[in-house]
């Protein structure tokens, strides 16, 4: 499956122009802060609307300005693992995991509840409240929740960045297992070259797209 996009995205006072075409199972998006990595994921998910361009996944068009196509997020069949997990605080771990299952129609039942729970070692956490999970546990639940919605494309936004180093190293093998065992293509945003080299098969480098004066004001980060 090919992800093919050419988008203009308004971000604050300026526009971001992004072009990308990838067929890799795991595509890493890297680049300094300000290069629009997270903004691009938001656009792929349909959370923000680009001001121009197109976005295609396989033979489906998710967005095309000139044809007035803009599929809402819930019709895009994506799984989104957010930086900060975004677990539902009013549901327990099991409630979070099962949240999206009812929206996945029968042909899309690649991932069974039991096998996802086993793969991510969530068995003992199922009845727990999400309030007292560690950072790594939270992200495992978030990954499981996304997989059980039977996505055609998995988006991961710096899944290790909100976790301390030791726990991040514990989570990494799960991500590698995800890559090797599953047939789901992934877009993986990261700023850590080490992490990227362990997980990704293709790397897309985004440049700093902020206007020069703003970079100069902020003292050229990264």
């Amino acid at each position: 499956m090919t992800l093919d996009l050419d988008l203009r995205l308004r971000r604050g006072a300026f526009e971001l122009a992004l072009r990308l075409s990838t067929e890799a199972r795991v595509t890493a998006l890297i680049g300094p802060s300000g290069s629009g990595k997270s903004t691009l994921l938001h656009a792929i998910a349909g959370i923000i609307e680009p001001s121009a361009g197109f976005l295609r996944w396989g033979d489906e068009t998710w967005f095309e300005r000139s044809k007035g196509i803009n599929k809402p997020p819930h019709q895009r069949r994506i799984g989104y693992v957010f930086q900060e997990s975004r677990l539902f605080p009013h549901l327990d771990v099991q409630g979070n995991l099962r949240f999206g299952m009812r929206y996945a129609t029968p042909p899309r039942s690649q991932f069974a509840y039991g096998s996802v729970v086993e793969m991510l070692a969530l068995g003992s956490l199922q009845q727990r409240s999400v309030h007292n999970l560690s950072g790594g546990e939270r992200q495992r639940v978030a990954i499981g929740r996304a997989l059980l919605a039977q996505p055609a494309l998995l988006l991961l936004d710096e899944p290790l960045s909100s976790i301390d180093r030791a726990h991040a190293d514990q989570l990494l093998p799960y991500l590698i297992r995800l890559r090797d065992d599953l047939q789901v293509p992934m877009i993986y945003v990261s700023h850590d070259p080490d992490e990227v080299s362990k997980v990704a098969q293709a790397v897309v480098q985004l440049g700093d797209q902020r206007p020069l004066f703003e970079r100069w004001q902020k003292g050229m980060p990264d």
Binding site: I47, G79, Y103, A149
Partner: protein
């Protein structure tokens, strides 16, 4: 000397019971509408938002007597809507306790909507995005994420509206008059008692009761809001 038990006579007990019934029905009947309207107002994309906002808040700023009069014109027995309702559905509001409940609901609605709207606005938009990314259509996001997260605020809004409905006076007396046992709530009963020469000694127990009930409701509402903030952190 009057005994303790007769601080409230049968008429006062009836007024208190009627007030509680009117306020409870007003609150429960308007709650579903408030939950939807508040969500509409909290969402920034939906059309007609400013108009709805102004309409909802109108009873808060209009003289209650005007609200009551408009209710009478619309829903009285000869009213534009009232006549139709009586003929086709057999529903009568004028000079009935149901009319008192309707007047109380209209007057309390802005307060209820405000509290619920605040609760929605305090919930994390990121969680709604997460729900949508999991395939949930907008109505499901509303029912499975927005409402449960705002629930403590919804309860707080309902309690606040209950307190307001309990004390409603102006619109009620204009719309359904002050008929003992039928539409004479606690507030109307106090007003009525004030008109009786030398009736002050019978007034005070009701005044204290009304004050106590209002205070308890406000206290409960505030406590619920505080608890909801803690829960979401």
């Amino acid at each position: 000397m009057e005994s303790h038990a007769s601080l409230l006579g049968p008429a006062e007990w009836a007024a208190l019971g009627l007030s509680l019934k009117v306020a409870l029905v007003a609150t429960l009947a308007s709650l579903p509408f408030a939950i939807v309207v508040a969500y509409w107002l909290a969402a920034d994309k939906l059309p007609g938002r400013s108009l709805l906002d102004a309409l909802v808040h109108l009873p808060l700023v209009m003289p209650p007597v005007v609200t009551g009069y408009l209710l009478l014109v619309l829903l009285g027995r000869r009213g534009l809507v009232g006549e139709w309702l009586e003929q086709h559905l057999g529903i009568v509001f004028a000079f009935r306790w149901t009319g008192a409940a309707l007047a109380a609901a209209v007057m309390a609605f802005p307060l209820m909507v405000r509290a619920i709207r605040l609760a929605y606005e305090n919930t994390d938009a990121g969680l709604r995005q997460a729900a949508a990314s999991l395939g949930a259509p907008p109505v499901a996001v509303f029912l499975r994420v927005s409402v449960p997260l705002a629930w403590p605020g919804i309860v707080a809004g309902a309690v606040l509206a209950f307190a307001k409905a309990l004390g409603e006076f102006g619109a009620t007396i204009t719309f359904v008059s002050s008929i003992p046992g039928q539409t004479q709530t606690l507030a109307l009963s106090i007003y009525n008692q004030m008109q009786v020469p030398g009736g002050e000694h019978r007034l005070w127990p009701m005044v204290l009761l009304a004050t106590g009930l209002s205070f308890a409701a406000l206290f409960l509402s505030e406590a619920l809001v505080r608890r909801s903030r803690q829960r979401l952190e």
